[in-house]
C-alpha cells in the first residue's frame, strides 16, 4: 500500500489536537475529514504524544521516529509510513543522525504502566491519502489507523469510508 502525505507534517498543536493522558497512553490520535473518491481514501490526522522521558530520550526527534499504520480490512491490505517530512533537506551535519541515540534494552517491557515522573512529547497534524481500489466500500470501518513508536501504540481509529466518518474505537 502506497500511503502518501497530502500536506507537510506540522509539529504544532491546534484546536483540533487531541489531549493525551500521559499516565495511561503515550500517543493519542484524532481523525477528521474522512473522504473517499476516485479510489483514494483520505483523512486528516492530528496526534498528541507524550513518551516517558527515558523512551523519548532514545531519539533526537521522537516525532520523526513514529510510524503511521493503515490496516485496510476492505482490501485485505495495509501499509505504514514514517512521520517525517522527507521532502526537506538539511545542511550536511546540521542535525544529529541517526535519529535513534540508543537501542532499547532487551527484553523490552510489555505495554504496561506508563507511570513515571517525566514525559517528553509534542503534537502533529497531517493530511493522509491511500489507494482504495474498492468501487464501493462496504465495511464500517473499512480501515483502521494508528501510530506507534517501538511498542508504544496509539488509540486506533476506524475509517468508515461508506459514511465518510471517523469511528472512535
Amino acid at each position: 500500500m502506497d500511503i502518501k502525505f497530502e500536506t507537510p507534517i506540522v509539529y504544532l498543536p491546534d484546536a483540533g489536537s487531541p489531549e493525551v493522558d500521559s499516565k495511561r497512553e503515550a500517543i493519542r490520535i484524532a481523525v477528521s475529514d474522512v473522504a473517499f473518491e476516485a479510489r483514494t481514501a483520505r483523512f486528516h490526522m492530528r496526534a498528541a504524544y507524550q513518551f516517558p522521558g527515558e523512551i523519548a530520550g532514545r531519539y533526537h526527534r521522537p516525532e520523526e521516529a513514529m510510524v503511521l499504520v493503515v490496516h485496510d480490512i476492505e482490501q485485505a491490505d495495509g501499509g505504514s509510513i514514517r512521520l517525517e517530512n522527507t521532502f526537506v533537506w538539511y545542511r550536511p551535519g546540521a542535525r544529529p543522525e541517526p535519529n535513534q541515540i540508543a537501542e532499547p534494552p532487551l527484553p523490552m517491557p510489555g505495554r504496561g504502566s506508563l507511570v513515571t515522573t517525566s514525559y517528553r512529547g509534542g503534537w502533529l497534524d497531517v493530511g493522509v491519502a491511500f489507494p482504495c481500489y474498492a468501487q464501493v466500500p462496504r465495511y464500517r470501518p473499512s480501515a483502521y489507523v494508528y501510530l506507534l513508536l517501538e511498542n508504544y501504540v496509539s488509540n486506533v481509529i476506524g475509517l468508515d469510508l461508506v459514511d465518510k466518518k471517523a469511528i472512535e474505537l
Binding site: 504544532l12 483540533g16 522527507t86 521532502f87 526537506v88 550536511p92 546540521a94 514525559y119
Partner: protein, 466 residues
C-alpha cells in the same frame, strides 16, 4: 532547412509550442504534383534519436496520414497533414512530401528538434541569496539542457519582507484550527511579515497566480531558513519548585506571539486548577540550553507542598523552537538556503530538486516492440535506482556509491561515496562528492525520456501554488 526547437510539453499548437505541427503544401511546391494527384508524406528520423523500444505506438512521433489527394479551394490546390511529436527530448525529425510513388523528388520541412520547457520565478530575501543564485543559475540550467529540458526564468523579485533568516512555517502557530486545510502557508499569504503572495492549495484566494501551470515553479532563495515546532515536557509528579531541564533545541521567542517562547506552562496541584506559570520560566542559552523555572513566588504552591508529607504537583509546559533546515520542495514551491553552503552544494540542491520534478530517479521503464510498438510486458531496470531502505527517502541514484553497514536503515546498510568517480546529483543527500550539475549516464537519458507535460516532485503537485 532550418532547425526548429519544438517545445513538446507546452500546451498549444502554434509556432514552437506543443507537440503538433500542421503542414500545408500547395501543388506547385511539391515536385511533379498537380491537382488530382496524391501526395505522399513520411518522417525522416535522425539515427541518433531515442530507441523506439521505450515508446508505445501512441507515444511515437507520427503523421496523421499517409498518401492522400489534395483539396481544391478557389484557385488553390493544397495538401494537409499533421505531425505529432514524441514527448521525448532530443529527437530530430524532418517531414517530407512528394508525389505519391516519387519519393526521390520531395519537399522537406524544417528539422524539428524536441525540447521540453519548465518555468520558474525567483523570489529572494537578501542580496546575498540572489547573488548566490545568479552565480549558479547558468550551470543549473545547463544541467537540464543536456537532457533537452530548458528552464526559463519568468520573473525575479525581492520578497515582500527582507529576511536573512526566513521563517517558513506550513501553518501559523497562532491560528487555532479544527478541520483539514489548516495548512495556511503563512509566509506566502501576502500579509504582514509574509515573504510572498501566492495562492496555495485552496487557501489565500487573494494571492497571485503563476502563469503556465502546472509548469511553473516558485523558487525562493534565502540566506537561511527555519520553521517552528513545539516540544512538550511534563513532570508529574514532582516536588521540584525551582529547577531546570536541558534541551539541545534552539529556543525561539516568537515575535508573532509577542516574543513568547513558551506556548503553555501550567502547574497543577490538589485543590488548585491548572495555573498559568509562563511568567516563572527563563532559559539559559548554552549547549545544552537550560530551561529554568522558579515557582517559589507562586501563590499557594509552596505552602501546599509543605502542608503534608508526600505532596507533589504537576508541571507541564511546551516551548517553541526552531529546527535547522536547509530547504525543501513541496509541489511547485522550492526554497533553498545559501549562506554558509558551498556554492556546489547549493547548485546540487537546486539540480536535485528539479531532477525530482523531471521524474528522477527512475526505477524501471516499460519496453515495447520496436517494430509494432506493442507492449512487451517487460521492463528495463535502472541498476542505480534505490530508495529508503538504503538511505534517504524517495527514489535516488547510487552510481559510484557503495554500501556500508548502518543501523539506521531498514536494510542495515547505507550508500556512501565509493571514493572513485563523482556521484550523480540524484544521490540522496548533499555532499562534496556528487557532481552538482551533471546527471549521470543513467539518469540523463531518463530525463530525456520523461514526459514533462505534468512535472512530478518529491511531494505535492505542480498545481499546489500560484
Amino acid at each position: 532547412m532550418a532547425q526548429v526547437k519544438q517545445y513538446v510539453n507546452l500546451p498549444g499548437a502554434t509556432g514552437v509550442v506543443g507537440p503538433t505541427i500542421s503542414f500545408r503544401v500547395y501543388a506547385n511546391q511539391v515536385p511533379n504534383v498537380h491537382p488530382g494527384d496524391r501526395v505522399d508524406w513520411w518522417i525522416e528520423a535522425n539515427p541518433a534519436n531515442m530507441d523506439l523500444k521505450y515508446q508505445s505506438t501512441a507515444e511515437r512521433t507520427q503523421l496523421a496520414h499517409g498518401p492522400l489527394p489534395g483539396v481544391t479551394s478557389g484557385t488553390n490546390h493544397y495538401f494537409d497533414n499533421t505531425l505529432t511529436l514524441t514527448q521525448i527530448g532530443g529527437d530530430k525529425y524532418v517531414v517530407k512530401a512528394s508525389r505519391d510513388g516519387q519519393r526521390a523528388n520531395f519537399k522537406p520541412s524544417d528539422e524539428y528538434e524536441t525540447w521540453r520547457k519548465l518555468y520558474y520565478s525567483v523570489w529572494w530575501s537578501h542580496p546575498e541569496s540572489l547573488a548566490m543564485f545568479n552565480g549558479v543559475e547558468a550551470r543549473w540550467q545547463d544541467a537540464f539542457k543536456r537532457g533537452f529540458l530548458e528552464l526559463e526564468r519568468k520573473a525575479t523579485q525581492a520578497t515582500l519582507t527582507p529576511a536573512y533568516e526566513a521563517r517558513l512555517d506550513y501553518r501559523s502557530l497562532g491560528r487555532q484550527f479544527t478541520g483539514a486545510g489548516a495548512h495556511d502557508w503563512p509566509f506566502m499569504n501576502g500579509g504582514p511579515g509574509a515573504l510572498m503572495n501566492l495562492r496555495n492549495g485552496g487557501g489565500n484566494p487573494a494571492g497571485a497566480t503563476l502563469s503556465d501551470k502546472p509548469l511553473h515553479m516558485a523558487l525562493l532563495v534565502v540566506p537561511d531558513l527555519y520553521w517552528t515546532q513545539l516540544e512538550r515536557m511534563t513532570f508529574d509528579p514532582t516536588t521540584t519548585v525551582a529547577g531546570s531541564t536541558p534541551t539541545y533545541n534552539r529556543i525561539f521567542p516568537d515575535p508573532q506571539l509577542g516574543g513568547q517562547w513558551l506556548w503553555t506552562a501550567q502547574a497543577s496541584w490538589s485543590g488548585a486548577g491548572a495555573t498559568d506559570v509562563r511568567g516563572y520560566f527563563t532559559y539559559t542559552v548554552g549547549w545544552p540550553t537550560q530551561i529554568n523555572w522558579d515557582l517559589r513566588p507562586l501563590a499557594g504552591l509552596t505552602p501546599y507542598l509543605a502542608g503534608a508529607p508526600g505532596r507533589n504537583f504537576r508541571l507541564d509546559f511546551a516551548y517553541i523552537y526552531r529546527p535547522p533546515i536547509g530547504g525543501f520542495s513541496w509541489g511547485n514551491f522550492s526554497v533553498a538556503a545559501c549562506t554558509n553552503m558551498p556554492e556546489n552544494q547549493v547548485l546540487q540542491a537546486l539540480t536535485h530538486e528539479m531532477g525530482h520534478a523531471a521524474g528522477q530517479a527512475v526505477q524501471q521503464e516499460p519496453l515495447y516492440n520496436v517494430g509494432t510498438g506493442a507492449a512487451l510486458g517487460t521492463f528495463e531496470t535502472n541498476p542505480n535506482w534505490y530508495n529508503d531502505p538504503y538511505g534517504g527517502s524517495g527514489p535516488h541514484c547510487h552510481i559510484n556509491a557503495i554500501l556500508t553497514p548502518d543501523p539506521t536503515t531498514s536494510s542495515r546498510q547505507i550508500y556512501i561515496w565509493g571514493g572513485g568517480a563523482q556521484m550523480c546529483p540524484m544521490f540522496y543527500m548533499l555532499n562534496n562528492d556528487s557532481d552538482p550539475d551533471h546527471f549521470c549516464a543513467f539518469c540523463l537519458p531518463r530525463i530525456k525520456r520523461r514526459d514533462l507535460r505534468t512535472p512530478t516532485g518529491a511531494a505535492g503537485t505542480w498545481n499546489d501554488f500560484g
